[in-house]
Point group: C2
Chain length 370, copies 2
């Protein structure tokens, strides 16, 4: 199996490298002091260090269920399974559905493509348009595959967001074909202006909705979850159990304690949204200044600006940039057919504002002699 370019890059950069590559949150925004306080409280009790349930601790499942209820998507704790990040959620579902074929966006999340390959799931890629997956292609593909994986909010890698109309039509197609949707939503809370409606909320018996605290609280906690009907969730429990017994208990208790002050969490989310929007606008301004030929759509949330540098083989270009200590991800990484492309994904959240300017100036300079 091919290793993830992004994770390989992460292991080969040095402290001077300016990275627009990984999907890393801005770590200066982590609620570290609050999590420290939570850890302090949690670690007053020996029981938080003992083995716990395979599906996750009850009180955290209750709180996550409550999030869905607040969004008008009736959910009980039994509909939730806590996973080691939403990456593991994807793996558990894929493992149970191994050897099937799945309809995915083109381009799509590299970690999902890897998980599908690991589980021998063939992928039918349908082009992702600015307002969501191409509907004609999706309609035809879902009839055959009955199984699909979409990232409707601020997609990885493209940053694109599905329109209300496409969400509704996809839900209808899933239902008509008695198909299954995996709706991956790691970035949904990172909207700049308006929250989107979950496709899953209208097809609760035909969907797995995946969530995560990696982008809202902190990645190293590795707390994600699956929201599904009890019927869909039940057979996954023995898989989760065989895979790692249960998700890190200490992290679950810490997140659960942190969420006891829900207002604090909501204020924290407001800050991230605001700061990420500012960073995106600065990134955009600098992109237009330094790389005026770069064609892209402005994202409405999330962590990425995606576009193309016409006629530049970005897979070769990145090798030059790496030498000069500035990196991004070439678009070819996100296509299951590995085709060469002139596309680039920039992460705009991780780097400081100063380094955004410095990094893009470097890339512009390298491009001139490429």
């Amino acid at each position: 199996m091919k290793r993830s370019f992004i994770r390989e890059i992460l292991e080969h950069t040095n402290n001077n490298t300016i990275s627009f590559a990984g999907g890393l949150p801005d770590q200066s925004l982590f609620p570290t002091a609050d999590l420290q306080q939570s850890a302090n409280r949690v670690l007053k009790h020996n029981a938080t260090l003992q083995y716990t349930k395979s599906t996750g601790i009850d009180s955290l499942k209750e709180k996550i269920a409550q999030f869905y209820c607040e969004e008008g998507f009736p959910t009980k704790p039994d509909n939730i399974m806590i996973t080691s990040g939403s990456q593991q959620a994807l793996d558990i579902i894929s493992r149970y559905n191994n050897n099937k074929t799945i309809t995915i966006e083109s381009p799509s999340y590299l970690g999902a493509i890897n998980v599908f390959n690991l589980n021998n799931i063939k992928q039918k890629s349908i082009i992702l348009e600015d307002d969501g997956i191409n509907l004609k292609g999706f309609k035809s593909s879902i009839k055959d595959t009955k199984f699909s994986y979409l990232i409707p909010d601020f997609q990885n890698p493209t940053g694109k967001t599905y329109s209300k109309e496409k969400r509704e039509q996809i839900a209808t197609m899933i239902k008509e074909n008695d198909a299954i949707l995996i709706e991956d939503s790691p970035y949904s809370e990172l909207y700049f202006d308006t929250r989107n409606t979950m496709i899953s909320s209208t097809i609760p018996n035909n969907s797995f909705h995946l969530g995560s605290f990696s982008k809202t609280l902190a990645p190293s906690l590795r707390i994600g979850w699956i929201r599904a009907s009890k019927e869909l969730l039940e057979p996954l429990i023995s898989y989760k159990e065989a895979m790692d017994l249960h998700t890190n208990g200490l992290s679950q208790y810490i997140v659960d304690d942190y969420l006891n002050d829900m207002d604090k969490y909501k204020r924290h989310l407001e800050v991230i949204r605001e700061q990420y929007k500012i960073k995106m606008l600065i990134f955009k301004e600098q992109l237009d200044h330094y790389l005026p030929t770069f064609e892209y759509c402005e994202p409405k949330g999330g962590m990425f600006i995606y576009g193309k540098l016409p006629n530049i083989d970005t897979s070769s270009f990145i090798r030059e940039c790496l030498k000069h200590e500035v990196i991004f991800v070439p678009g070819s990484e996100f296509y299951s057919d590995d085709s060469v492309s002139d596309e680039i994904r920039f992460n705009f959240t991780h780097t400081s504002i100063q380094d955004i300017k410095k990094g893009l100036a470097k890339i512009a300079k390298i491009l001139k002699t490429f």
Copy 2:
């Protein structure tokens, strides 16, 4: 896939249930206050909450490598992969070796049997004798399978320990057949009197040695690891990455910080060994008093006393006991062929001394009318 009886039981017991079932450590011995202090230090830095490397954080890998070096088994950080408990270590190795056949002990660890089944690995079970696996059976089986899974120290479920002679002969057989050994060692630090030699140490290029902090520090941290040659470890990295990106970073940093005071850790291990030995001796005394027909071998470490209640179908007997709020694991759970048996695994570490007496008295009473 069948769910683990033990984990299902964990989800169905109440606060009054006296449990000799799960392989749970004594939580009163967790170094909770020390881990709290470590968490406090670790959570002064935002960077500990960011994504990290797939194989684990460098400083923890260095410390684990050092443990091996101290035991005379030369090991570098590159020989270590941190996993979400050793359960995940087993899964990663099995996944890479899916569809093979493996030589295992009979009975063996239920979680391993489940992982092998999940990965379509057929199991050839060879009887486990008091001093280790039957050598004639192992010799014949390893020739065919070239792949084996053993728990040489204080085995789960039997508590049995391999003799020095059998360790040496197994190493020779593995080498002669250019086979692979998975040596699972979650209990190795929990010896009562003497430490055993790792079989892997004499066959470093033919072995995966699995370790864990679940039994020495705390299970909820979910920190285990694989020790293997670089050649054997390298292809597993892309699997780990696809499965959950990386093991919980916060826990890794906490354990790493805790281990900065190595003397403290060593004193802590001494306390556990001493306390577990005391508990085992009390359990044994009470067993001999309340269940004089129970036949067993005294373990030399670990967490389990295993034996048989002649002519009692313990799978039916446990159902009666569950009603009366006392549980153990019937031996049938640990055989890959699911055969009925008169065997029982008792965990002696989790329950208080008072409850050991109370629980065994209850079982004796239920047995009288069974």
